[in-house]
Structures are given as C-alpha cells and as structure tokens.
Symmetry: C3
Subunit: 272 residues, 3 copies
C-alpha cells in the first residue's frame, strides 16, 4: 500500500477532490489516499506550504505528497516532482512545496513534461486532476522520476521570515540574562490559534516569560506548557504541536478575541 | 480493491457519512470508499446529478457509484441499481443518476426490493445507510444485479436544458461567419465560477468571441484559454474542466461579484 | 484490513486530521481509516459522545474507535483504551467514550501510560496525533491492551438525562390509555433536526400522537413515519435513524424555524 497525500485549495463542496481520487485509483488501485487539507484559502500559497510542512514529517517513508495551490494554472509556471530521502513531492513550482522541502534532503528535481503520464486530455484549468495526480499515482507505483522530464537544479522558494533574538545572548540557548525575540504570525488555525515563526530554539526561556502580539489590539500573556494552564477565556502562549510558538485563548479564539492576523509582530520577553 | 463513491447532501458535520462507510466495510472490508461530494444543497437533485456526471468518468472501470440526494426518502419513490459498461450506479430513482447515465451505455436496471441486501432494520429516514450503501457494498463484492429485484425498462430523467446556436451556421463547427449561442448557468462551484450548459461543440469560436451573462447584473467578458488570461478581478469565460463553458473572475468569485445564479441566461457571440 | 475511526473537534480546515492519518499509516500501512465527524463543536464532549454512540454500532467487529474531544489536553485527565465485545475505544477519559460504551459489553479498561506506543516526542497540545492515534494504530495491528498501562475499574460517565413517561402506564408498552412522555433535545444535526432522548420504547404510540417542543417558540406537530408525511415547510416528529424521536421540518430546518436548542423540553402525548 503506497500513500498519496493531497493538499489543495479546491474545497470539498464540489466534486474536484473526489475526481482526483478517481484518477489516482484508475492508475493505482492500491493507493491509500489521505487528505491533508482542502480548505486552504483560494490561491494562498503560504497557507498551503505551511500545512504541508507541518504534516508531511508524520507520513510513512515513500509517501507521495501532492500540493495544488496554483493560482497560475494554465500559464507558464513549471510543474515539478522532487525526490527526497523521505518521499516525493509533486506540485506547481510556485513555492507551495518549498517550506516542506527546506527540511528534507533533496535528491532529484524533475520538471513534469512527459504527457504520457498525464490524463489524455489536459484541461487549462484543472491540472490537479489532469497533471499532478496522475503523475503522483504513477510515481506511487514505482515510476522513476527521471521519466517525467528534464532535470532541474532548483525550485522557487517562498521566503520564510525568520524570528530574531533582538536582545540578550544570541548565540547561546537560554543560559541566562534577559532577552527578547521578535517574530511574526505565520498561520491562524481554525481554533483561532496564532502560530508564529518563533521556533523552540528561541522560545524556551524559564519561568516568567511573556509574549506580546502587536496586532489590532495589544495582547500580553504568559508562556505556559499547555492551553489549560490559564483560565478559560484567557490568552496564553505555548509551544504548539508544530514546535512553533503559538498564541491561543483557552477554550476560545485568540484571533477573533484580539483581532490577530497573519503578519502581526510577536515579541517574546524573558527576564530570568 | 473495488471502489465505491458517495455523493450525498448529508454534509460531513454529523456522523451520517461515516456511518455509511462503516456499513460498507462491515460487508466488504476491502472496499476503497471515495467521497465525491457531501455538501450538495439539501434536496438539490440537479446539483447532485451534476457532481456525479462531472466526476464519474474519471473512476476505474467497475466502480460502484452511490448518489443519495433523496428528498422523498420513506415515500413511494423507487430505489434502483443500474449496470453500465463502466460501472454500477445506485440511488433513488428521482433523476439524481440520470445525467451521469445519459453518457453511459446502460446494460441493466433493477429495482432495489430484496431486503436480504439491506440492513436488518430499515429506518424510514436514512436509506443511504440502510438500503443504498449495503446494496452497493454487496455489488462491489460481485453480487449480480439480478438478485436485487424486478427488471425496469427506464428511469426518471432529470431534464437537461440544451444550449442552442441561435444565429449562424448550426450544422458546421466553427467554419466561419458570426454566430450566437444561448444557454444557461447550470452549476455554481465553490470558487463562484458559473458553469453553463454550453459544451465544446458550441463554444470553440476563434479569437474575439465574447460571453454575456444576463443575470442580476449584466456581465460581458472575453472567451480565453485560462483564468489568468485576464487581470486579477476581471471576468473571463473559459472551457472549464468539465468541458463546459464557464464564467469566472480571475482570483475572485464571478457569482458573488455579478450576482449570477443557476438558470441565468448566457450568450456566447463570435464575429469571426 | 483493520478499520480505525476518528471522531474529533479538530475540523478539516487545517492539517490536524490528515497528520493523524499519516501517523496511523506509518504504524499500520494496511489500516482503513474512516472519519466519523471532525466538526464537533470545539470542546463539546456531549456532541462527540453522541456522534460516536450513533455511528459505532454500524462498524465491523474489531474496529478501533478513536474519539478526541479533549478540552483538558495537557492537564491531568487520564487517557484510556477500552476493549468491548465489538471493538476497542480510545480517547481521553472525560466521558466522550461513555455513551457508546453504555451499550457495549466492556471487557477491559487500561490507562495509556506506556510511552513506547506514543510518538517519540509528545506535545502538550496535540495528544490526538501523539498519543491516541499511535496507540490505536498499534492496537489495530493486534497489540494487547494489557501492554498500554494499568488496569482501571471504571471510566468517567457523561450523564444521560433519561426521558420519562409522566402520565399513563409506565410499565407496559403502548397497551392503551393516554400517556405523556417528557424528554429533551440532545443533539441538533446539520439539517436542523432536533434529536431527543426519547427512545422507541417510549415513542411508538398509535395514531393521533402529538409532539411539542417548549423552546424559544412553541412548536406542536404530529408524529409520523417519515419527513415527507407532512407538506414541505411543516414540522413533524419521527423516529429518526438513531432510533430516537426527532423533530424536523420537511425540506427545512426545525432548529432555525422554531429556535430549538439542545436542552429544550420535548413532550410527546398520545390519547389513544
């Protein structure tokens, strides 16, 4: 059983995703198909890249990941397949694969050119069904990437804004002294948790650390181990399940309560 | 591995669809179950018929398609299974299967009467779980349709309003001279694209064709090859992935921006 | 093929559920994973318990059911696995499993303590991915429950408010004489049907029975066999697919039309 994952902005209201699965099964009846997310906001490449990055490390080795957030479908953007030590990534070369691939050891990049592995008739508007998924289904059956098209040396990178330690010792990890880290909100999940770009190397100060979001409304809250460390309705910062600092409201929505949006500045301070 | 597809108006908020899958797996543990769509508007037989028609050609031969948009559940409407050259279609005989079947070569129609292939206790309100899905699961294991019930000669047809070439040469395909095609909007997808009943035989004029929608607000736009052929926010008509003319707004919603609704008249004009 | 079901309040907008499936497949590539419901309102243990109770009887023997509605994640609540005659139930010990288990013959209850069967790194906020699903995947491969942790004698019970026959013969079933049953609304489904706690033993009176909901607006309607027994837009009470009395509006939403909410009193009267 080979696994194929799907990450798209097609939604599940219509028949688009189901049709893609039909195409997979017509080529590889033994494929196990997993939906990662289909409600990525339309054309939001960053959100698609984040969802894929956050989920792909948990899949079995050899999984084929298909990500189709593709506002340029039908135009000149390239289509690619990327072999890594852990699996294969297929999608448009617009950055949607790049955050997941930044954590992988890339072995081979190929452009999708060989129409033999596409559907016979390729529409101009639905390459998810006609190009990406048939290629993924063939790859899941063992087709070598080299058959797909020319070798590429690099892919389009989506910029990842890094967080910075702006005060205190930047080299050592939590060895004392007050410090301050500045980052920003990169994703807001359906619970209204604001996930930031502040990773564990910057965010594990001792007791007494505070987190501040400089959004529509100013929010200041403690850093704790889990949501329920504060009373219901109160804000709290935790290291979330993606190992990034996130700002939440226990039993509520931080995004709605405080008007937080992607791009808002987040400041983490520790006195120690 | 046999494939069973599900198209319903049950939504995915509650446990209805999951329960249907449990029933399938209790009868055929090796079935591969694919959701086509579950957010069909409640009781909207046309939308269900369109989703099934648009997706079923892409599934493997032998797939069993179950469509349950069934406002008459518990009343006198018949339940049917239809064998075609490509697969089997199961659902209420209210037209929901008819658009998909219009493109298929029908081999046998049977009424679902033999309670041996239903759940032991059949509710009056959930034939998806109690009748259609158990029958489909048995069929996916090779049960002959002849065991299900009496032979039928025809099924309820949902009318398909055809588009018409109202000016110009109606017999030849794009061989010159101005022409005009009138059709209507038949489905609005989650992106707000307005899919029409104008097929490729009518809609492939040369350069300079324009499309007009006579809805709440009048919209006139060019016919192009793909969405991104116009600037973001602008309307465009393309041959969509279902091979039907559709009216879209690049990076936006045509339905919302121009108040388009199912049934609105669409006019395609070519000067040539 | 072993079946694993998932019932959560994680939604399907983000990558949470997809990631859980990746974790399952990395441990048991042959698992067949079925979504029961993921749009349980956040932290609503009663709604999760109801969905699991309503659907689990329809799954194959041996199914592993995972339910994660877990507002106390990261705090002191226990995590459990429960073996019954029909399958295995895995989740937090907060009552979310208790309604389904009330109908099962319990054979063994174990606390989830043995970190060998968790993900290597357990976050404080996503035990669905890190604890419950890896345990379920191991169980689906045949791991004995006894390896998971200490034996428990009981689990947290969610109270089930029973309906009562308040007038008439309480002992015998519909043997004559007028009677009155009082219950309450326990779940409102996506169609706006108000499902009550009045089971078939109380609700199968003869002709002429009426049902009343004492909610925001008073509603009185007949008891019938199916929704379409009344004209479109009219209210009707039926024994629903979960074998509980439910109040519906044919082709409409009873909850929206009459402002019905969970907890509203429902009275069923029969004159006979």
């Amino acid at each position: 059983m080979s696994t194929i994952t799907l990450t798209t902005d097609f939604g599940t209201r219509d028949w688009f995703v189901g049709t893609m699965k039909g195409v997979v099964l017509a080529i590889n009846p033994r494929a196990s198909i997993v939906d990662i997310a289909h409600e990525i906001p339309q054309g939001d490449i960053r959100a698609g890249a984040f969802a894929l990055m956050a989920s792909c490390p948990h899949f079995p080795r050899g999984t084929v990941h298909v990500a189709v957030v593709d506002p340029g479908v039908g135009s000149q953007r390239r289509a690619i397949a990327v072999q890594t030590a852990n699996g294969i990534f297929v999608g448009p070369d617009n950055g949607v694969l790049s955050w997941a691939l930044a954590r992988e050891r890339i072995q081979l990049i190929r452009q999708l050119e060989n129409a033999r592995y596409f559907l016979k008739s390729v529409s101009r508007t639905f390459h998810g069904r006609d190009v990406f998924v048939p290629v993924a289904a063939h790859l899941s059956r063992g087709l070598p990437l080299s058959r797909l098209g020319r070798k590429l040396e690099d892919i389009v990178q989506l910029p990842w804004v890094g967080a910075n330690r702006v005060k205190g010792n930047r080299d050592r990890k939590n060895t004392g002294g007050p410090f301050e880290v500045r980052g920003e909100v990169v994703y807001i999940d359906r619970f209204g948790n604001a996930i930031t770009n502040i990773g564990p190397e910057l965010s594990s100060p001792g007791k007494g650390a505070t987190c501040e979001v400089l959004g529509t409304r100013r929010l200041r809250c403690p850093l704790a181990d889990f949501y329920a460390a504060v009373a219901a309705g109160h804000p709290v910062a935790v290291i979330g399940s993606s190992e990034l600092l996130e700002v939440a409201v226990n039993c509520g929505s931080a995004a709605r309560k405080f008007g937080i949006r992607v791009g808002d500045t987040v400041v983490l301070r520790a006195k120690l």
